[in-house]
């Protein structure tokens, strides 16, 4: 499993590692038309599928929508589901912007969760004013470290990040099993499931919607952190020289290199930043929802994140909307299963279709662009 772009600069004495992603494939111009169309097509395909398996698509989708937005409680639950997706979506997107395929958002999120969970328990007695920032720092740092490994291996050893991220994702799952089942972080709990020591009260993100407004709401202050992260994402990429450099490497690694911007160094940087976003997501889950780290608490944020990033065209607003959409899928899907009797996995099927449509669409674009273009210079004489 290797590079997706012509490795044009891999001879002796050259210094530029080729980015993995065909950039223009994933950052096509034009507004939300294509992503919206992709979702619509995927939903239609999903409807066909539901029909074929002997069920009523209208009822299915109605239940889905009902479940996602039907009551204020559902709204807050959709938001709760969307929050980690925003962060992992950002983690994937910022890497895409630099030409890297970050499949490791899942693992980076878990490392962040573990780090934050550990710090939150270790320093449980500290007051919130100090503990909360500490836990945030640990979450971000944990994820950044894990992402940085990937960037480092790519820059120094030329290892394709697709391989390393998948491997690291699985690695941390098992490390987590050990840590929480039999290792230093394991602690007994009422449910009897493997989990860590609860974090201190000062590290818990408070629920921001009072019970009087919405009963049992779990919507926590993590939404603010997520919003801040989106702003940071936008700010870094478009308002700082660092972001300029990252985008330059992603869109024109050669040009950047000859101008003095080192692609290798920036690959490490961006993977660390990406990991930081995902790690923050992990911390938010621990601080806002669980209060401790449960073994296997998060299973699919990683792959969802890729769909979120692609659908959102690697842009801040797009990611937010895509995350909301998938959050709606997650929460609405559960309702759809219990009330319309249609497996919530329909959602996964729709998601797969979305990815497929995006992958195919990108190609259609590149084909139509190439049709009018000239033959490459090397063909002449």
């Amino acid at each position: 499993m290797t590079q997706q772009q012509q490795p044009a600069t891999t001879g002796p004495g050259t210094t530029i590692p080729a980015p993995s992603v065909r950039q223009l494939t994933f950052q096509w111009a034009g507004g939300p038309a294509i992503p919206v169309l992709s979702v619509v097509i995927a939903l239609l395909l999903g409807a066909v599928f539901v029909l074929l398996s002997g069920n009523d698509p209208v009822a299915a989708y109605a239940a889905l929508v009902q479940g996602a937005f039907g009551t204020p409680y559902d709204l807050t639950e959709t938001l709760v589901a969307a929050i980690p997706l925003v962060l992992t979506g950002l983690a994937v997107a910022i890497a895409f912007r630099t030409g890297l395929f970050n499949i490791g958002a899942q693992g980076q999120l878990l490392v962040g969760a573990l780090a934050a969970g550990w710090a939150g328990a270790q320093f449980a007695s500290w007051p919130g004013i100090v503990l909360m920032p500490t836990v945030i720092v640990f979450g971000v740092a944990g994820g950044a470290f894990y992402g940085g490994i990937v960037g480092f291996l790519k820059a120094v050893r030329g290892v394709n990040e697709v391989i390393t991220t998948i491997m690291l994702n699985y690695t941390i799952v098992f490390v987590m099993h050990w840590l929480l089942q039999a290792g230093p972080m394991s602690a007994p709990n009422a449910l009897g499931t493997p989990a860590s020591t609860p974090i201190g009260a000062g590290a818990r993100l408070p629920v921001i919607i009072p019970n009087e407004l919405v009963l049992f709401s779990r919507l926590h202050a993590g939404i603010i952190l997520a919003a801040l992260a989106v702003v940071v994402f936008w700010f870094v990429l478009w308002r700082t020289p660092l972001g300029y450099r990252l985008r330059a490497v992603g869109l024109g690694a050669h040009a950047a290199a000859q101008a003095g911007i080192d692609p290798a160094r920036h690959m490490v940087l961006v993977m660390a930043i990406a990991g930081g976003f995902a790690g923050l997501g992990g911390m938010i889950e621990v601080s806002g929802i669980f209060g401790r780290v449960y073994d296997g608490f998060s299973s699919s944020y990683g792959f969802d994140a890729i769909a979120v990033a692609l659908l959102g065209k690697n842009s801040p607003l797009g990611i937010v909307f895509a995350a909301l959409l998938f959050g709606a899928f997650v929460h609405g899907g559960a309702y759809m299963q219990s009330h319309a009797g249609i497996s919530s996995n329909l959602v996964a099927i729709i998601q797969a279709f979305v990815l497929f449509v995006i992958a195919a669409e990108a190609l259609v674009r590149s084909l139509t662009r190439r049709r009018g273009a000239r033959k490459p210079v090397e063909a002449i004489a």
Partner: protein
């Protein structure tokens, strides 16, 4: 044009071949006649159309006009498979070999002539048979990736012979060979001819032409420039046919007294991407206020030279001194800090980030500095103002700093590159193929700006395959051939003929 001697039997007759790529015409109705028992040279500079013509003969391209006859019969060649079936074989410039497979496996691939199971022995034996017949030595069981390029080429030749080719087309065969390997190749080629094969050599090197060929067809800018018999012609005549053309008006230049060296290269050596030697013992100096033009047919080390100066390629030996310091092993960032500007060969992939705006491209490399960013934040106003100013100053059309560079024409894209590189008062400008693909207006614009920099006291290292560009701009001209600087002449001494000879590797005749 000298008179041609009528060939005995015409094996290959290509008449009036036309080939277009989009709105660019590569061949304007070219003729090629090759007889039996002949080694025929197809000669010309970069862009002359040699490879295109041969790709048509080999079935890789379809001609837009003209006819092809093989051994007297009309022939339509739709694919390499067709060509191979008709006895035409091509030894490509970039070898079509599979590195981890053995020599024998590479030779028989696609035409294995065996049951489903392959026997290593049988394959090797078959290959050895061929080798003996044509005196080509190479170990059939060796892995291609372990062989030096000279031996790899032999595998290409064996491939073609295995398929029973009667006509062998060699595309720039000596580009990656050492002198000894070149002589060995010539021996093989002569044996091929003696065994009844016909050989076409695509080349730009006179030495090869005079060493092994019988007849020559010269192409220039997609047209026939002459058909000659090797024995009856001279290097000068060929050089003139290859190179001569209507020159644009040579710019009147104010003589500027060059003062002090801004770039001194000593003993520079480097390798190409494929691992071959690209630069051998290069010594050159560029002075302030002068333009040193590096002429030569593309692929003789010019690109590698520019890359080494910039820090994009690690030299294997030698020094590059700018401002008193050896920057041979510095990265581009450091090198640029010493006042080096770079206009790269391929503006689309190396010079610009096509998806960025004009204004953003103007600050590429300078994004961290004030006024473009202060305290870690980009200053959009400053960037935009700078963009507007430079777009106007460098005549970018339309002068819209917000336009996406991908949508600009080639000429305007190059102006953006110039604007970025020339606006900071550099000490040394390295510029490579600056007007490739540009129309006359843009070309003259680029030339003017470069001359301006020279008048300002900047030193310019100009690398170009376009002779009239070299002659129009340079104070001194150096010629590169096979990785060496074969001569450095004052502009006044650099006649067309001399340059043509030097570019074709004929140093002695040129400097006589």
């Amino acid at each position: 044009m000298t008179s041609t001697v009528a060939p005995h039997v015409e094996l290959v007759e290509m008449r009036g071949i036309v080939k277009r790529f989009g709105d660019f015409t590569a061949l304007h109705g070219v003729d090629l006649v090759v007889a039996e028992h002949e080694i025929h040279a197809l000669l010309g500079e970069n862009g002359a159309g040699k490879s295109t013509l041969m790709n048509i003969l080999y079935g890789l391209y379809r001609p837009d006009g003209g006819t092809i006859r093989l051994a007297g019969q009309d022939a339509a060649i739709h694919s390499p498979r067709d060509a191979i079936a008709r006895g035409i074989g091509m030894i490509h410039q970039h070898f079509m070999l599979i590195p981890p497979l053995t020599v024998a496996e590479n030779v028989v691939l696609g035409d294995e002539r065996s049951g489903p199971v392959l026997s290593r022995h049988a394959l090797a034996a078959r290959v050895r048979e061929l080798e003996e017949r044509f005196h080509i030595g190479v170990d059939p069981d060796a892995k291609v990736e372990d062989l030096p390029l000279g031996l790899q080429q032999r595998v290409e030749i064996l491939k073609v012979l295995y398929r029973g080719s009667e006509l062998l087309i060699f595309d720039e065969p000596t580009a990656v060979l050492t002198p000894q390997e070149v002589d060995e190749l010539f021996t093989i080629v002569r044996t091929l001819r003696d065994e009844g094969k016909v050989v076409i050599f695509i080349t730009h090197k006179l030495r090869e032409v005079f060493a092994v060929t019988d007849r020559i067809t010269v192409l220039r800018a997609g047209r026939n420039a002459g058909e000659l018999v090797t024995k009856a012609t001279s290097p000068s005549e060929i050089a003139r046919l290859m190179v001569g053309r209507e020159l644009r008006q040579v710019q009147a230049r104010t003589p500027v007294t060059a003062s002090g060296a801004v770039l001194e290269i000593r003993g520079l050596e480097a390798r190409s991407d494929r691992g071959a030697t690209a630069l051998q013992g290069i010594d050159l100096t560029v002075n302030a206020g002068e333009i040193l033009g590096v002429a030569g047919v593309g692929g003789n080390g010019q690109s590698e030279l520019a890359e080494c100066v910039l820090g994009l390629r690690e030299p294997t030996a030698g020094s590059i001194v700018i401002g008193g310091a050896d920057i041979a092993h510095d990265d581009p960032k450091r090198t640029r800090e010493r006042g080096v500007a770079y206009v790269p060969e391929d503006r689309r992939t190396e010079g610009l980030v096509l998806a960025f705006t004009v204004a953003d491209n103007f600050i590429l490399g300078k994004q961290d500095r004030p006024p473009f960013s202060t305290r870690g934040v980009l200053d959009d106003d400053a960037i935009r103002t700078n963009g507007d100013r430079l777009a106007k100053e460098f005549d970018v059309r339309p002068p819209n700093a917000r336009a996406i560079v991908a949508n600009l024409s080639g000429g305007n894209q190059q102006k953006v590159v110039l604007g970025r590189e020339l606006s900071e008062r550099p000490t040394l400008i390295v510029v490579s193929q600056p007007t490739r693909g540009l129309d006359i207006g843009s070309t003259e614009y680029v030339w003017e700006r470069l001359l301006e920099q020279r008048a300002r006291g900047c030193g310019v290292l100009l690398v170009s395959s376009e002779l009239d560009e070299i002659r129009a701009l340079s104070d001194r001209i150096a010629v590169m051939f096979e990785g060496r600087l074969v001569a450095t002449l004052a502009a006044a001494d650099a006649t067309e003929e001399r340059l043509g000879l030097l570019m074709a590797g004929h140093a002695e005749a040129a400097l006589a």
